[in-house]
């Protein structure tokens, strides 16, 4: 096994503090820091929605993730997802997670 340098080891410890590694299915040493730290990118947990005619901030060619469940359609713009990466939402009483 390749020896981890002490600096890398310390960084890994700093970044992984607060998570539970008691069980794992991937090698913990393959987990890398992405930079901003835990919640450095804040996910959205209380999303608000507008109708299409109120979505003037969107341009025609903007990318969106669209979902449609039992007649309910929702669009999650990349413009917002870029800053939050995940939205915790509900559709028809089911909890859903939209990730980017």
């Amino acid at each position: 096994m390749k020896r981890l340098s002490p600096v890398l080891l310390i960084l890994l410890l700093v970044f992984t503090v607060g998570f539970d590694f008691s069980k794992h299915s991937i090698p913990v040493e393959d987990i890398q820091s992405g930079g901003p730290g835990k919640d450095g990118i804040p996910s959205i947990s209380d999303p608000k929605f507008v109708t299409a005619d109120k979505a003037g901030f969107l341009k025609d060619n903007d990318r969106v993730i669209g979902i449609e469940m039992n007649g309910e359609a929702k669009a999650y713009p990349a413009r917002i997802l870029n800053w939050h990466e995940a939205v915790n939402d509900r559709v028809k009483n089911s909890a859903i997670l939209v990730t980017w």
Binding site: T16, G18, F19, D20, F21, S22, K23, H24, S25, I26, V28, D30, I31, Q32, S33, G34, P36, K38, D39, I41, P42, S43, I44, D46, P47, K48, F49, V50, T51, A52, K54, A55, F57, L58, K59, D60, D62, R63, V64, G66, I67, E68, E72, A73, K74, A75, Y76, R79, I80, N82, W83, H84, E85, A86, V87, A95, I96, L97, V98, T99
Partner: protein, 188 residues
């Protein structure tokens, strides 16, 4: 999941250059691409994938005029007119040095990845842009149809008109999770 609702945050950690989320209830880490918990008490628990579409606002609005749209009133002060990843999107390289370059395609080529009964296949956008869609293909004995809309670059697969779960991602991400994937080639 199991009658309980979990809320997810961004851990700031990556596995194979791909986001790890965590759930606030147990602090387990979840892989975005694998859609399952990879560390902590929830290890092995899976999220049920829902069919979703990555497309343009213009096309989504046209097909779903009654759609709701996530509001910019998120509770966070962010400038949503700015794309924080613009330079990454333009760059031909992955953020974090790759241990090994993926073979055959440029690392940041977009692909539609399909998984059926353990068989994986990647449809490169460079090929989809050139050929006539929809077209039929076979994955693990299943006859599937690949759809691609040139204008919006919306790509998805169906089987008997039922939409399949597919993943649109950079080639290096798909390949690092599925090194045994096959690649769709243009028929000559």
């Amino acid at each position: 999941m199991g009658g309980k609702t979990y809320t997810f945050g961004i851990s700031g950690l990556l596995y194979k250059s791909n986001v790890l989320l965590y759930d606030r209830e147990t602090e387990s880490l979840w892989s975005q691409i694998k859609k399952e918990a990879v560390t902590g008490p929830m290890t092995g628990a899976r999220l049920t994938p829902l069919p979703s579409t990555l497309t343009t606002w213009k096309r989504w609005k046209k097909l779903n005029p009654g759609t709701l749209v996530l509001s910019t009133d998120t509770g966070y002060a962010r400038d949503y007119t700015v794309d924080p990843y613009e330079s990454y999107f333009r760059s031909p390289f992955a953020y974090f040095g790759l241990k090994k370059k993926p073979p055959e395609l440029p690392e940041k080529e977009l692909v539609l990845g399909i998984e059926m009964e353990g068989a994986k296949k990647a449809y490169p956008f460079s090929v989809l842009r050139k050929i006539k869609a929809p077209f039929n293909d076979t994955v693990s004995g299943h006859n599937i149809t690949i759809h691609f809309d040139r204008e919006s670059e919306e790509a998805y697969a169906t089987e008997k008109e039922r939409r399949l779960n597919g993943t649109v991602s950079y080639w290096f991400v798909w390949y690092s999770f599925h090194p045994d994937t096959s690649i769709y080639r243009e028929k000559r």
